[in-house]
């Protein structure tokens, strides 16, 4: 990689030539030399990141917060300071907005069904590939993880076909055995389960990889001892694998929950929130209010409500699951 050469070379050479000169200068005040030197270099090494971070992350986070108390609209995109302060209006309006409440409900639905399914399937895949399978492991892992690294748009293109009611994969498989598949994406009942299935298919690999790493950290003699004591596969799973994998499962649950609470791409590319808002999620609602209707103040309030929900649930999960270990 080019990182080891390049701009550092001249500087490095200069340092190499004058080891004594550099040493002498510092020798008189050896007491706090090391600390103050590290203070300066520490901040120099931090500055580029912190500048980018401040401008493109911290500032927008604060700005979203401030915007959520204004009537920030289309004209304010070019004149942001002319937005008017409206207090808590956006927030009170949100909780009377049936569409937003539906989005909140849909997001909850996505999380409550999607997270357990993703975790259980990911864990099972990990156990299968780590403990059951020895040949062609790489092939299986790549196959199971491939959906994670695939562009959502390409995934959507294929899944739209899989779910198509007239000539889709599932529809034609069903017709061969004499069944009629529902119009998955066009039905208020089926659209959400379809998107959840797709999300589980897509994200299971992440949980699997995490669990494989966790499984490999479990000493084999623990397993062997259990086996000598006559533990069956189920007992081994409940008594050893799951308890020892708890930190991994906790982490996987938390990141999957955060991801699903933010779910945007699946409904955006598959259903645009329809039919009749049955797949409208909070992030999609926020995007639409913000960028289609330019109700940016209102959308900002939505973003913050979602943020508070995410933080609350994350903290709760960490507490609950940690207490369980005791």
């Amino acid at each position: 990689m080019s990182l080891t050469t390049g701009p550092a070379a001249p500087q490095a050479a200069a340092v190499d030539k004058s080891p004594h000169g550099g040493g002498k200068a510092g020798r008189n005040r050896r007491g706090n030399r090391s600390l103050s030197k590290h203070n300066l270099t520490g901040w120099l090494f931090s500055t580029p990141f912190l500048v980018l971070f401040g401008v493109f992350m911290l500032f927008p986070i604060v700005a979203t917060f401030l915007m959520s108390f204004t009537d920030f609209g289309a004209r304010n995109v070019t004149r942001p300071l002319e937005a008017e302060f409206v207090g808590l209006d956006n927030y009170t309006q949100l909780f009377q907005d049936d569409k937003f409440l539906k989005a909140l409900f849909n997001t909850g639905y996505f999380v409550i069904v999607g997270v357990p399914a993703t975790i259980v399937l990911g864990l099972l895949a990990a156990i299968l590939l780590n403990n059951g399978i020895h040949r062609a492991r790489t092939l299986f892992r790549v196959g199971f993880y491939a959906p994670v690294v695939t562009t959502i748009v390409a995934v959507a293109v294929v899944w739209r076909f899989v779910l198509d009611p007239s000539d889709g994969l599932i529809a034609s498989l069903a017709s061969e055995v004499g069944l009629t598949a529902p119009d998955f994406l066009g039905s208020e009942t089926w659209a959400m389960p379809s998107l959840i299935t797709m999300a589980v298919w897509r994200n299971m690999g992440t949980v699997m990889v995490l669990c494989i790493a966790g499984l490999q950290a479990i000493p084999t003699d623990v397993r062997e001892a259990a086996r000598l004591d006559g533990a069956g596969a189920w007992q081994e799973l409940r008594g050893i694998t799951i308890p020892l994998l708890r930190p991994t499962l906790l982490y996987a649950t938390v990141i999957t929950t955060i991801g699903y609470l933010n779910v945007f791409e699946e409904p955006f590319v598959m259903t645009q929130g329809g039919p009749s808002d049955s797949t409208l999620t909070v992030s999609l609602d926020m995007y639409r209010e913000g960028f289609n209707f330019f109700h940016m103040g209102y959308a900002s309030a939505m973003a913050y409500v979602l943020f508070v929900v995410i933080m609350g649930i994350t903290v709760l999960q960490l507490r609950l699951l940690k207490d369980n270990t005791r």
Partner: protein
């Protein structure tokens, strides 16, 4: 290719020493794993095969898996109608810039957090950890206003800057750099080496596996990124591949039969490089997820 290998595995002999761990159920497990793999891979296989199908095959009912006649028409039609090379180039430029800047800035801060004892270090680290938890959607609204104000909509800078330095990279680099022995750095300091020299010539070469991991994650993250390029580009000339593909997919003028073939061909072109890179480097991937996940 995948399907063939899969079908063979159940019959493949199991190493005698390993049979014990499977407790005699190994063939069954291979069957389960192979079926699961087929389910996971079916959409990809369908996409890859459909890209080479004629209009007749694409609209056939019941659907045909293997093209009755292989054709490149979908690809030529796609390249005819869409400026694929330009989108590809846009995606590549953005991903390379994002990756290089992340490698540099995240390892610099990672080094400072792991090896330099400066006042405020713990606060900076807490900031990085907090940033890991903030959902990306929280900042896109003002980010759009900011980029618009700076005149960076429809520019590479507008696509790159918001992702130029991520908290995940800092966290990853810090974790790896902590394992570099302090004695090594102290020895170099005694020899009069400056911090930049130590960072660049000693620490960076020692954390190459971490840099490889970060490269893959950042590159793929940028390559697959969808929301921000969707917001930050209006000019089709600056579309990245996913945005171009999504626009094409939602275009009502796209002809039904041949259009679907083109869509599959386009998806294949977007996915193929990613899957190839991932298949080659998957070891680094798993290592990176494990490190980031388990401290």
């Amino acid at each position: 290719m995948t399907a063939e290998t899969v079908e063979k595995t159940p019959e493949s002999p199991v190493h005698p020493a390993r049979r014990r761990t499977g407790r005699g159920r190994t063939p069954l497990l291979y069957v389960i794993a192979s079926v699961a793999l087929l389910v996971m891979a079916a959409p990809f296989l369908w996409m890859a095969l459909s890209a080479f199908k004629t209009k007749q095959d694409l609209t056939a009912n019941p659907p045909v898996w293997i093209p009755s006649r292989w054709t490149l028409d979908n690809f030529t039609a796609l390249l005819d109608q869409l400026d694929m090379p330009q989108y590809f180039l846009n995606s590549l430029i953005v991903a390379v810039l994002v990756t290089v800047s992340n490698l540099l800035f995240c390892s610099m801060l990672g080094y400072a957090l792991a090896k330099l004892d400066f006042t405020g270090r713990s606060k900076v680290f807490a900031l990085v950890l907090a940033a890991l938890m903030v959902p990306g959607n929280l900042m896109i609204l003002p980010l759009y206003v900011l980029m618009n104000g700076l005149g960076l909509i429809d520019t590479y800078a507008g696509l790159v800057l918001p992702f130029a330095a991520g908290a995940f990279g800092v966290f990853l680099m810090r974790q790896f750099m902590q394992s570099v022995p302090d004695e090594l750095l102290e020895a170099a300091r005694l020899d009069g080496a400056g911090e930049w020299y130590i960072f660049w010539r000693i620490v960076i070469p020692l954390v190459k596996p971490a840099l490889a991991t970060l490269t893959i994650f950042t590159f793929l993250g940028s390559w697959n990124n969808f929301i921000w390029p969707l917001i930050a580009t209006n000019d089709p000339g600056k579309y990245t591949l996913p945005v171009a593909l999504a626009t094409f997919a939602n275009d009502p003028n796209r002809t039904v039969g041949g259009g679907n073939g083109m869509l599959m061909a386009g998806s294949l072109l977007v996915v193929l490089p990613v899957l190839a890179v991932f298949a080659v480097l998957q070891r680094h991937f798993t290592q990176g997820i494990a490190t980031a996940g388990l401290k």
